[in-house]
């Protein structure tokens, strides 16, 4: 869906982005991560041409992005940013309808689409007539995401979209975006500096440092086999074991049919939560249940260290 080929950007002689090459496949949740100033935001903004590049090629849907009229390209790519940037003088509905209106969709279609997106982002239907300042920060970002999705874009670019939210709201919106990704199968390119967030959401992570791509791979691959000390430190240093547990679910280690005392844990919960529960209740086994509460088996602490 998106291809970077040897892309560089120089700033007064210094390289902000240095010979970047990678491909984002359709339907992927692709996370760009790195310390501040590593060029991850710049890289993201190159895709919708908010930033220029000095050399190399970027292709979108098979065609070089410079071959599209710039506005047409941007209208095909959803864009959500940390500061949201809702239009303060427009209602929620008008904000969400921005791109469909630019594309001159008929009115009834826009109205239906807004209703659909309000449902998708779990916003009240009443909120369509509110103004942005009447919403909480979390609600504003929900509207921001709805607006980015409005014209059903092929790709969604998100620039630290949850960075300014409190931890509880951030977590809720992370679940929301994970669900939306599953439901819509959109290609998402997501910038963050929060490794926890990246590990939780990404199907693939690209770690950048000083304008270069350091390592690219699935969350498990990054935690298990960091390419160098920088990646090792960035994915969690001494806590990498715990990070690994957070990437696997109870379902993957359950001993089917066995039973155990203690508080039950759901099969889709990460192993890190299971470990936490075991420590909290001073036990080395837990009963595992499925989403509807039926017992599936038991989880043993002894099985955790398996590679």
């Amino acid at each position: 869906m998106i291809e970077f080929e040897d892309v560089s950007k120089s700033f007064d002689g210094a390289k902000a982005v240095d010979r970047l090459s990678f491909t984002v496949a359709a339907g992927e949740f692709f996370v760009l991560i790195g310390p501040s100033g590593c060029g991850k935001s710049t890289t993201l903004k190159m895709i919708n041409r908010l930033e220029d590049y000095t050399s190399g090629h970027i292709r979108f849907a098979g065609k070089d992005i410079t071959e599209y009229p710039v506005e047409a390209l941007r209208r095909r790519i959803g864009y959500a940013i940390q500061s949201v940037g809702l239009f303060p003088h427009w209602t929620v509905e008008q904000n969400i309808a921005t791109v469909p209106r630019l594309l001159r969709w008929p009115r009834p279609r826009i109205r239906d689409r807004v209703a659909e997106l309000l449902r998708l982002l779990r916003l009240d239907d009443d909120s369509r007539h509110r103004y942005p300042h009447q919403l909480s920060g979390g609600q504003q970002q929900r509207v921001g995401v709805a607006r980015a999705l409005a014209a059903d874009p092929d790709v969604l670019l998100m620039d630290e979209p949850f960075g300014a939210l409190d931890p509880v709201t951030r977590e809720a919106l992370q679940s929301e975006i994970a669900r939306i990704h599953q439901e819509t199968k959109k290609t998402i390119v997501f910038v963050t500096h929060d490794m926890q967030e990246a590990l939780r959401l990404a199907s693939r992570i690209a770690i950048m440092n000083r304008g270069r791509l350091v390592q690219i791979g699935s969350p498990i691959a990054l935690v298990r086999e960091p390419a160098d000390d920088f990646v090792r430190a960035f994915v969690g240093g001494d806590d990498r074991g715990i990070k690994l547990l957070s990437l696997e679910t109870a379902a993957e280690r359950v001993r089917a049919g066995e039973s155990a005392p203690g508080p039950p844990i759901r099969a889709d919960a990460p192993l890190s939560r299971a470990l936490s529960l075991m420590i909290e209740h001073a036990t080395d086994r837990l009963p595992v249940i499925d989403a509807s509460g039926r017992p599936l088996g038991a989880l043993h602490l002894a099985d955790f260290p398996r590679q």
């Binding site: 919708n48 908010l50 710039v70 506005e71 047409a72 390209l73 941007r74 209208r75 864009y79 940013i81 500061s83 949201v84 940037g85 809702l86 239009f87 303060p88 003088h89 921005t98 791109v99 630019l102 103004y131 300042h133 921001g144 607006r147 980015a148 670019l157």
Partner: protein, 383 residues
């Protein structure tokens, strides 16, 4: 302890004015200056009762500053304004009955100070009691009704200013219309040229400094000099193109007046347009660009609407400034209320000066109130 020192101070000034200065002046004819008539003449007999609403303002200075107190102040001040007018009219009628038909009875410094302090107390209370400009305008208008009723009743007819008005009311009407024409005639090109200049200043930082220096230089030219400076070149142009004078463009008259007013009005319009555009949040612009809005769409759908309250404040300042400046247009033969005012000044006829000044003050107040309300309406929509 006084809780409202402003009111207390106004009351003190009013009291001193009431007893130390002439309430009215009486002159045997238009040429000599008048003899003072004290307030005691106006309030003899039971007429002193008319001062009660004014006296009732004093305790309000010691009451808690709550809305009921402010409403009480508004009511008292409103009645007091009407009472002052009534007293002046009544005293003038009695003086006229006693003296000759030629006698001129003018409002004295004491009357004006009392009237001004009561009006200030009123506007201060309205401002404190009500937030929304629309309510303020409505309450202010309601509070002016008693005074307007006294004026409309013909009770002031024996005052010299009323006689001046009776003699010249057609001229005043023409002057008011001309004044408005001058102001709007200058405002229209100011907006048409100033707003694009403001956009340009916001977009091109390199252009901003020289543009604002030029506009600032214009502001430093004394206004009378400006009107004078424009006469020569315009007269020269009219000389070369004989068609122009037929269109009303020549060295004297409306053309130099409107050009001078336009030049003065540019700075606040351009400055506020540029400031308004600069205040648009960066995130909004980034999101707008990222969603594929064109520059023109961003300007019309996001930047200008968001800058509108600041731009309108600029228009408000400009409008009030223009109403005042347009007085000087009379000096280059453009007419307007300034013509009446200057005529009075040169003839040493204070009442005639007032005939020009009072409509200007009212016009400026109305323009200010109307524009404030407009700004508030625009902002209200987003709050």
């Amino acid at each position: 302890m006084p809780r409202n020192r402003v009111l207390l101070l106004l009351f003190a000034i009013g009291s001193i004015a009431a007893f130390a200065l002439a309430f009215l002046t009486l002159a045997p004819n238009r040429l000599v200056s008048g003899a003072p008539i004290p307030l005691s003449y106006a309030i003899n007999g039971a007429r002193w009762l008319a001062l009660l609403p004014g006296a009732a303002l004093l305790p309000a200075a010691f009451l808690r500053r709550r809305r009921p107190t402010q409403v009480y102040v508004i009511a008292c001040a409103s009645l007091f304004l009407a009472a002052l007018l009534w007293l002046a009219g009544d005293a003038a009628a009695r003086l006229a009955a006693a003296g000759s038909q030629m006698a001129r009875i003018s409002l004295g410094a004491g009357f004006w100070l009392l009237f001004a302090t009561a009006a200030l107390a009123l506007s201060d209370a309205v401002r404190r009691a009500f937030r929304s400009p629309l309510t303020r305008i409505a309450v202010g208008f309601a509070a002016a009704l008693p005074a307007l009723a006294v004026i409309a009743s013909g009770h002031l007819d024996r005052l010299a200013i009323a006689r001046e008005y009776a003699a010249a009311h057609e001229l005043v009407g023409i002057a008011v219309v001309r004044h408005i024409e001058l102001v709007l005639g200058a405002l229209a090109p100011t907006l048409a040229i100033g707003l694009p200049l403001g956009v340009l200043a916001a977009r091109r930082p390199r252009l901003r400094a020289p543009l604002f220096s030029a506009l600032n230089v214009i502001q430093t030219i004394p206004s009378i000099a400006m009107f004078g400076l424009l006469m020569a070149p315009l007269a020269a142009i009219a000389e070369f193109a004989p068609a122009l004078p037929r269109l009303g463009i020549s060295g004297i008259g409306v053309a130099p007046a409107i050009i001078a007013l336009f030049l003065y009005a540019l700075l606040p319009i351009v400055r506020n347009a540029a400031a308004g555009l600069a205040s648009v949040p960066h995130a909004v612009l980034e999101a707008a660009r990222g969603m594929g809005m064109t520059r023109r769409q961003i300007l019309w759908r996001a930047e200008l609407p968001l800058a509108l309250p600041v731009i309108l404040s600029g228009v408000r300042i400009t409008l009030v400034q223009l109403i005042g400046l347009a007085v000087l247009a009379a000096l280059v033969g453009a007419g307007g209320l300034g013509a009446i005012m200057f005529q009075g000044l040169f003839a040493d006829a204070l009442d005639q000066v007032l005939l020009g000044v009072i409509p200007i003050v009212l016009m400026a107040m109305l323009a200010d109130a109307a524009m404030s309300a407009l700004v508030a309406l625009v902002q209200q929509q987003r709050q």
